[in-house]
């Protein structure tokens, strides 16, 4: 690997840690700032895909970067930095669920001991499709209308010829079933 060779070279030549020059980007602190900045959107999307709302996604994204910057040395390479950010994001999310919803929730989230999947977002839609495919037709339908098409409960009720109460019950059962399905598959 290129990075490894560079690292060894730096260590061997000087006997101490020196920031490695890079050909493809500005040097030093600016480079580091730039490297973090380029990952904001990806980390935000990764987190949004797991909390599903903007305020939480913004807070958690900011937390991830604060923690990541404080926890990482400043001569990090971009691939290291990327995988480090995803790892911090995973632990931050696990803490989020555990802290605010239930103890032990981390078990349901991604396994933080595994290497993170760096390019998550193109997969998000696929993950949902394959999850919906495991559900009975009525469950799939209510989730599609509510989430993917953004129907209100009332609109969903009209579309499905159900009462609003029944739509909520159907949605409840569908989400619980899908949640268990997710747990089994992960």
């Amino acid at each position: 690997m290129r990075e490894d060779e560079r690292t060894s070279a730096a260590v061997a030549s000087s006997g101490k840690i020196v920031p490695l020059p890079r050909a493809d980007a500005p040097h030093g602190q600016d480079h580091l700032t730039w490297a973090y900045q380029t990952h904001v959107t990806a980390i935000y999307q990764y987190i949004y895909g797991r909390v599903g709302n903007r305020p939480d996604a913004e807070d958690l994204t900011a937390q991830v970067f604060v923690k990541a910057i404080n926890g990482m040395r400043s001569d990090v390479s971009v691939p290291e930095l990327r995988s480090w950010l995803y790892r911090v994001a995973q632990t931050t999310l696990a803490d989020h669920w555990r802290e605010y919803y239930a103890e032990g929730a981390g078990e349901l989230e991604d396994d933080v001991t595994q290497a993170p999947a760096p390019r998550e977002n193109p997969e998000a839609v696929q993950r949902v499709d394959s999850l919906l495919a495991t559900l009975p037709e009525s469950y799939r339908r209510v989730l599609e209308l509510r989430f993917l098409r953004g129907y209100s409960v009332r609109e969903t009720a009209q579309e499905l010829n159900l009462s609003e109460t029944n739509v909520k019950v159907l949605q409840f059962r569908a989400l619980n079933r899908a949640g268990r399905e997710r747990g089994r598959r992960s």
């Binding site: 990075e3 490894d4 690292t7 260590v11 840690i17 602190q29 580091l32 904001v40 959107t41 935000y44 999307q45 949004y48 895909g49 797991r50 909390v51 599903g52 709302n53 305020p55 939480d56 996604a57 994204t61 900011a62 937390q63 970067f65 923690k67 910057i69 404080n70 926890g71 040395r73 400043s74 001569d75 390479s77 290291e80 995988s83 480090w84 803490d95 669920w97 919803y101 239930a102 103890e103 929730a105 290497a115 993170p116 977002n121 998000a124 839609v125 993950r127 989730l143 989430f147 993917l148 953004g150 109460t165 909520k168 949605q171 409840f172 989400l175 619980n176 899908a178 268990r180 997710r182």
Partner: protein, 224 residues
């Protein structure tokens, strides 16, 4: 308290309106799984999940500042444990990291880092974390295992363990040797070495203690 369709629908509505859902204790894993699934579905809606321009701009500025602060801090080998622990926890990081840390710490053999979160676990095991001889008297030393972060504080032949997770918003605390206290990098909360919160506007919980014991000169932490 049981989960029910009305309560879950309020959560769903919050997500659909991009509001922060109410944070409530949930009765079981199904209730949590339903909400995590709802989040995933919400994010799959076309056009969802892109950060706003305002947020991006704010983050660009903040990152610039944070990196600057970080670089301004002295980063000598006097306190290598924190960084190396964090890094070692990240098993996926390239081997180059190990090489660099190896140089930095060649003279101090780093033991395996094992730790736990700030909760009393019921079905865990005792894991060795450090040699007692490596712990300085009275100075907190950070350690980590998986998602779990803590500090060890030696008092004579005894060692106390404290969670390193800020009780405000769950950021990882730093120990400031200079001010002799724990400090949160996110929102500035501080804690005494006994875990008591000191300065925060709203009352915070103290840092939970961890279960620690010393056996044959090895410090062990109860962890899952």
């Amino acid at each position: 308290m049981n989960d029910d369709p009305e309560q879950l629908d309020r959560h769903v509505e919050d997500l659909l309106q991009d509001r922060r859902p109410e944070r409530t204790p949930l009765p079981d894993e199904d209730a949590l799984g339903a909400r995590q699934t709802a989040a995933m579905l919400r994010a799959a809606k076309p056009g969802a999940g892109l950060p706003s321009k305002e947020f991006l701009e704010r983050m660009q500025g903040s990152i610039h500042e944070w990196v600057g602060q970080r670089s301004a801090q002295p980063q000598p080998a006097s306190r290598p444990s924190r960084r190396s622990l964090l890094l070692t926890g990240a098993a996926g990081i390239a081997a180059g990291v190990a090489a660099m840390l190896g140089i930095q710490q060649a003279t101090k053999t780093q033991p395996k880092k094992v730790a736990q979160r700030a909760l009393v676990e019921t079905n865990g095991t005792w894991k060795p974390v450090k040699a007692l001889a490596e712990l300085p008297e009275g100075t907190p030393i950070a350690f980590r295992s998986g998602a779990i972060e803590g500090f060890l504080i030696r008092q004579g032949e005894e060692v106390k363990g404290l969670s390193a997770i800020c009780t405000h918003m769950a950021c990882i605390l730093n120990y400031s040797k200079f001010r002799d206290r724990f400090e949160c990098p996110c929102h500035g909360a501080t804690f005494e070495k006994d875990g008591q919160p000191t300065n925060y506007g709203s009352p915070l919980s103290p840092l939970p203690p961890l279960q620690v014991k010393v056996e044959k000169g090895q410090v062990q932490v109860f962890t899952v």
